[in-house]
């Protein structure tokens, strides 16, 4: 089994996380340090163990390129969907749940080349489902949005 180059990033991430938590742990009162120290040590120890495994693999079998993990990766599609999700969250805050959902769904569905009729049906079905299941059945008051609140 070859060493995956992407694992370098994984190991770095785990070291960073444990370093951050350790730096915060030492600031805690002594009585509260025991358990966080234990978990930080656990993460650090296991990451080091994996690092050793990686080095052994690299020496024995060589390395596997980063592209192996991203074969058939649709970058444009992924980035659009990811950004749309973040924008959706912002839209909910400003325009409320229903308006944001309609905008988000139409944008993503059209980008993914879903026919117009299917897009319309999907949006209506999801909005109706949320209205009846969450708002009516569970009594959840969904966010109205800052802009809408101000307009009211």
């Amino acid at each position: 089994m070859k060493m995956k180059k992407t694992d370098i990033g994984v190991v770095a991430f785990f070291y960073l996380v444990s370093a951050y938590f350790y730096s915060q742990t030492v600031k805690l009162p002594a009585s509260s340090q025991t358990y966080p120290r234990f978990t930080v040590a656990l993460v650090f120890g296991l990451t080091t163990l994996y690092l050793i495994q990686m080095i052994v693999r690299a020496v024995k079998n060589g390395t596997e390129s980063v592209t192996a993990d991203f074969k058939d990766f649709q970058a444009r599609q992924f980035i659009f969907c990811f950004c749309a999700t973040i924008v959706y969250l912002v839209l909910i805050h400003f325009f409320g749940f229903y308006i944001a959902t309609a905008i988000f769904m139409v944008a993503v569905l059209l980008f993914l080349r879903v026919p117009l009729i299917a897009t319309a049906i999907s949006v209506v079905v999801i909005l109706a489902l949320i209205y009846f299941a969450f708002q009516k059945f569970l009594g959840v008051r969904l966010p109205v949005g800052e802009v809408i609140k101000a307009l009211k």
């Binding site: 025991t34 358990y35 994996y50 969250l89 959902t101 080349r113």
Partner: protein, 516 residues
Amino acid sequence: MLGTLAQMGAGFLNALTPINLLMMAGGVAMGIIIGCMPGLSAAMGVALMLPMTFKMAPETGLIVLGAIYCGAIFGGSISAILIHTPGTPASAATAIEGYQMTLRGHAGKALFTACYASFWGGLLSCISLYFFAPLLSQLTLKFMSAEYFWLSIFGLTIIAGVSSKSIVKGLMSGALGLLISTIGLDPITGVKRFMPSSYFAEGINTTCALIGLFSMSQVFVLAEAKIKQRARATKFTDKMSLTREERRLIRPTIFRSWIIGNLIGILPGAGASIACFLGYNTSRQFSKHKDQFGKGSIEGVAGSEAANNAVTGGSLIPTLTLGIPGESVTAVLMGGLVIQGLTPGPELFGKYAPMTYTFFAGFVLVQFFMLGIGLLGCRGFAQISRLSDAILIPCVTVLCFVGSYAIHKNIMDMVVMLVFGVLGYAMRKFDLNTAAVVLALILGPIGEKGLRNALRTSNGNISVLFSSVVCWVLIALCIVGILSPIFMAKMEKKAEKDAVAGTEEDIEKLTEEDSV
């Protein structure tokens, strides 16, 4: 004894209320829909529906989650049989014989066999749930603080190893989850730990983390792949039934697969995907019609489907009694239990016995709903399984957002869910284990309390962690837990290899006979 029987009876009476029956039907239908869509998984479905159960009575909420679980495991067989794409990994073996039956114009018969075998597999698994769960829960009465600490570590080693390609990476995921579980107020001293804002005072919201790690991450997984048109589900015209002889033929297969599935379910670390291959292989080994294998054998379909559904009841035993879920779905189910304010263990069979036995009874009734809805709705579900990923991506995203918001009605919950969604996606991409993080978030506080109370009572003497036989048994189990994935992987590979090799052999033999 009589008291337990009375509680069982009362459980059935409680489970038979109109709201519970309605929820069972809805849960099963939802589960089948999720299961038959190849892009979605049972764990994801249960996580997504978790917020819907908050306002329900605990037993009703658990029944809904159990119904989704059973429905999804069965639902995977519909697309496996009709479009040769298992909806869930638990139906991978069903695709071998099921699709062959479809090609030969017996899709209806294959679907009936899958439904019938799933029903019996699930129903029989309830027997062990009724008998073993209360017994095993008594074991935890012997647990003190140190034992609880080791129990949480054992739970983590099991789940960390089972669904990861690398055991160390699985353990790293679990350790990361433990670290994240320390965010919030110190449970003993009340000191603020790693809190960027007061929102995190109660720690990370487990439900948001669950939805993010299992459902939102799945959206990103779907978004990175090319959107493909799914194969059209074969329209079948044959009758959905089996003759009396055929039912008699698959009876022993179902019985064997029930035992296999149940044992696999009880064993923490093994899941439905292993059970289906073992059930399939065993059915071939014992079959008097080996020539049918590879050509579309009903015994093959029954063997695989009875085994994977028998896992459901079995896997609930360690989850409800010891708090050790053996796989992702039960980890999410346990999350549902904890969120309802319940703790796995003897309390569930003492103080909360009415609720537990209502859930058990509901779980039995769910099997009947699965049979009915499965048989009546197969044709419709087959069409739903064609739903494109392009539609699923925004729809699931919206449900993730609304689900995480519904719990505390706080937009910050949506942010946390999204962060865990990104984390979950990265973890899946780099072979880390999302189920281990979830379990660590649940078990972390239990382990922490156990460790700190044990150390406090012994004035910081660490030997208290090794002071009882139960501690040593749990330590030994932790070691077994770490090593078990090696054996499980070998077992799964062998079962898979045997299934494929056996089928190819049978086909070769038949071709030779035909040419002669």
